[in-house]
């Protein structure tokens, strides 16, 4: 579907008759065409988890929060907030794995970009859900719009997140238009409404040269826009913490520290997603060992960048060990949270920095195992950033019940957190069942331009 083809022959992509393209299209439309038993079981499983989460939220909101959640006056932010930070970080996957690769002409982005963008949109939505779960008065959510004050970092965060959601959705949608047309023309035995949906959403796409020109231009503009936006959402999220006077968050390093952590999480998340989609939908021809090799290299790079910011964040204050920081730092290094802290350092930074240096570790399976470890460690990393410091304020905590000193999330809280993960996967799964999760035309375009390296299926 290259520019040459279109301009030379004034043809639409429908007349793209290459045998390879037809095979490719069939393969990429297969997950949409047919949902197998295991596919249905998987969806049912995720729906169940989401419903459980909704039930937990119902309990939380109808009963006393003193009983249903473990939050108290000192640890007033818990796993909901750390989960929010995690999801905002994960949503930067779209920036790195789609936009940055696209703009820097790393051609192997082609089959990855849509996967990354769907995860980005799903993650940022679930970040919003996590925040609402953390609110004391969700019934007053609209006050943010009625009484919002621009001085508050929360309002900055809302502004950038809404902009990012909108941009990401448009960026997901515009490259989808030709694919919708493909769906409309090539899917069969689908319910009427679904075909109607493709018809409506493809906005009369015919694939004329002019349409392609507009499409490409819009994608380019949005791709450029989404990079500063993504960096802003996570920087502003870091400022939610860094604008306070608390020792553990009082850092000028915080924005960059958060963004670098998000990029590491993004690569790891991408590896897991690529592995799962590759296996589940048998897309080995498109998501190749080459992708794992490249992603493994990216993982090493991002780990070293993250380690650099961690050294700045922890070791520099630790060298001084000022009275204000000592409380928090000693708790992490040798205190109550030391086990979790050092596990996260090893699993979340050292493992992804060192192991994928070896080529054998960049094979799909070993790399995916490493990536799963990194994703889990990344979740606990956010926990460590948000929570332990709250239990070590400047003034000592005295005369309080035991539960006020030590926070461990309640069953209700953990159920809601698990449900947010399930919901994220459900969004990605459902998307992949209605739309091709790998962009047919983008892959074909790469193929046509003779970049065989990208889709090395022969």
């Amino acid at each position: 579907m290259s520019g040459n083809n279109i301009t030379a022959e004034k043809t639409t992509y429908e007349t793209f008759t290459q045998e390879e393209y037809m095979v490719m299209k069939d393969e990429l439309l297969r997950p949409v065409q047919r949902i197998g038993t295991w596919g249905k079981v998987w969806i049912a499983f995720l729906v169940t988890l989401c419903l459980l989460g909704l039930y937990a939220y119902y309990i939380q909101e109808t009963r006393s929060k003193y009983v249903t959640v473990s939050l108290r006056d000192y640890t007033m932010w818990g796993v909901y907030i750390s989960n929010f930070v995690f999801f905002v970080a994960l949503s930067l996957i779209g920036v790195l794995m789609s936009a940055v690769l696209k703009l820097t002409n790393f051609e192997w982005y082609r089959p990855l970009s849509r996967i990354a963008e769907v995860i980005a949109v799903a993650a940022i939505m679930l970040a919003g859900v996590s925040i609402v779960a953390a609110m004391g008065r969700p019934d007053r959510l609209h006050f943010l719009f009625i009484h919002g004050r621009i001085q508050s970092p929360i309002v900055w965060d809302i502004i950038v997140i809404i902009t990012y959601i909108a941009t990401s959705m448009v960026l997901l949608f515009i490259p989808l238009i030709p694919s919708l047309s493909t769906c409309k023309n090539h899917l069969h035995n689908k319910p009427k409404w679904q075909m109607k949906m493709y018809e409506l959403l493809s906005f009369g796409w015919e694939g004329t040269a002019e349409q392609w020109k507009i499409l490409k231009k819009s994608i380019r503009i949005l791709t450029i826009m989404v990079i500063p936006l993504g960096v802003s959402i996570h920087t502003v999220t870091a400022w939610l913490f860094a604008t306070t006077l608390r020792a553990e968050w009082d850092s000028t390093n915080f924005g960059a520290y958060f963004v670098s952590g998000a990029f590491l999480l993004g690569v790891a998340g991408m590896i897991v997603a690529v592995f799962a989609i590759r296996k589940a939908y048998k897309l080995e021809n498109y998501l190749t060992p080459m992708h794992f090799d490249k992603l493994g290299q990216a993982l090493v790079l991002m780990s070293f960048i993250y380690i650099y910011f961690n050294i700045n964040e922890y070791l520099v204050p630790a060298y001084k060990m000022s009275g204000l920081h000592a409380n928090h730092l000693l708790d992490l290094f040798v205190g109550e949270d030391a086990k979790m802290y050092w596990t996260v350092v090893i699993c979340g930074m050292l493992v992804p920095a060192i192991l994928p240096l070896f080529k054998s570790m960049r094979k799909p399976l070993p790399l995916t195992i490493i990536a799963v470890v990194v994703v889990i460690a990344a979740w606990f990393k956010r926990y460590l950033i948000v929570i332990p410091g709250l239990a070590h304020p400047y003034l000592p905590i005295q005369d309080v019940p035991d539960s006020w000193r030590h926070y461990s999330p309640s069953l209700v809280e953990m159920t809601i957190v698990v449900a947010t993960f399930a919901a994220m996967m459900l969004i990605v799964t459902l998307f992949s069942r209605f739309f091709p999760i790998i962009s047919v035309w983008e892959v074909a375009e790469g193929k046509l331009e003779g970049k065989d390296e990208i889709i090395n299926y022969k």
Partner: protein, 311 residues
């Protein structure tokens, strides 16, 4: 039930604002008297506090209360008592950890342990220095980190120095609690005992505890300097409850602070007793000053019991 409470609270809040207006007008009337423009005496004497901090008796005709019916706008309620600049001084030499201030505060605000807007902490600055008791509440900072971060203007700084919370506005994001370096704020998680207590003791209009609606579940509350007392010229509960006169409350504009028995010039007291503010280096500019625990009235005794052990 809940709505009724909220209505009551709102009425109380409005009334408080009206009284604030009334007090100003009363002050103006007093000034008029001094200028010699006097109406006919009624023979009934009332007590008023002069700018010098003296209590004097004047004829009631010189004091007029204009409790008018005009609807105060929300912004006026948020402005505070005109011309005042409330301030607190805590003399650490006098604190014996009797916790009467804590109990008085809880009674005043209808809170049950373990919720304490005012805490008494055992402090020891260094290994070789002496331990001391440290009453601590919201410092009503002049550069409050908490009001800056509030996304909906539910917590705000008033002209009289008080950092107040509007629990009808608060969305419960707890950002102010994260921002407060003194951990002075408390969140109403709806502890069953507390909710039950508030239902049994609903706010009546004449109860001063209701000027801040700390009983709203899902919102943030804290020490409010008892503005309903200040309005009437009374001292906050923690001040009056302390058997040792540890806590002084007053007005920076008047340059006086009082613990109910003794009254001092604020500036002189701070100068002569080397007053300081906690964590000055954070730049929050608290309105609560401490006098160092020197020449103590009581020897330091460790607490014999652990408080608020129960969940």
């Amino acid at each position: 039930m809940k709505n009724e409470n909220e209505d009551n609270n709102r009425r109380k809040f409005l009334k408080f604002g009206l009284l604030a207006g009334g007090a100003t007008i009363a002050g103006l009337a007093l000034q008029q008297k001094i200028l010699g423009d006097s109406p006919a005496d009624t023979g009934k004497k009332v007590k008023v506090l002069t700018a010098e901090g003296k209590l004097v008796e004047v004829d009631s005709s010189h004091v007029t209360h204009h409790v008018n019916e005009i609807d105060l706008t929300e912004s006026q309620i948020r402005e505070g008592i005109e011309g005042r600049k409330f301030v607190m001084v805590i003399d650490l030499a006098r604190c014996a950890n009797e916790r009467k201030c804590v109990e008085g505060c809880q009674k005043m605000h209808n809170t049950l342990p373990p919720i304490e807007y005012l805490k008494v902490k055992r402090m020891q600055d260094a290994e070789l220095t002496a331990p001391y008791w440290f009453p601590q509440m919201c410092y009503h900072c002049d550069n409050p980190p908490c009001t800056k971060v509030c996304p909906v203007d539910a917590t705000f700084k008033r002209s009289d120095g008080i950092v107040a919370v509007d629990s009808d506005r608060c969305i419960g994001c707890k950002f102010c609690m994260a921002a407060c370096p003194y951990s002075a704020r408390s969140f109403n998680f709806g502890r069953p005992e507390q909710v039950e207590f508030n239902e049994k003791h609903p706010c009546k209009e004449d109860e001063s505890c209701c000027s801040t609606k700390s009983s709203t579940v899902g919102t943030v509350s804290k020490c409010d300097f008892c503005p309903s007392h200040a309005e009437k010229g009374e001292l906050p509960s923690c001040v009056t409850e302390c058997p040792n006169g540890t806590i002084f409350f007053g007005d920076e504009n008047e340059d006086t602070v009082s613990n109910g028995e003794e009254t001092f010039r604020l500036k002189e007291l701070l100068k002569s007793r080397a007053g300081y503010r906690q964590f000055e280096e954070l730049g929050t500019k608290p309105r609560v000053y401490y006098l160092p625990p020197v020449k103590r009235q009581f020897p330091f005794e460790e607490a014999t019991e652990v408080h608020n052990k129960e969940e």
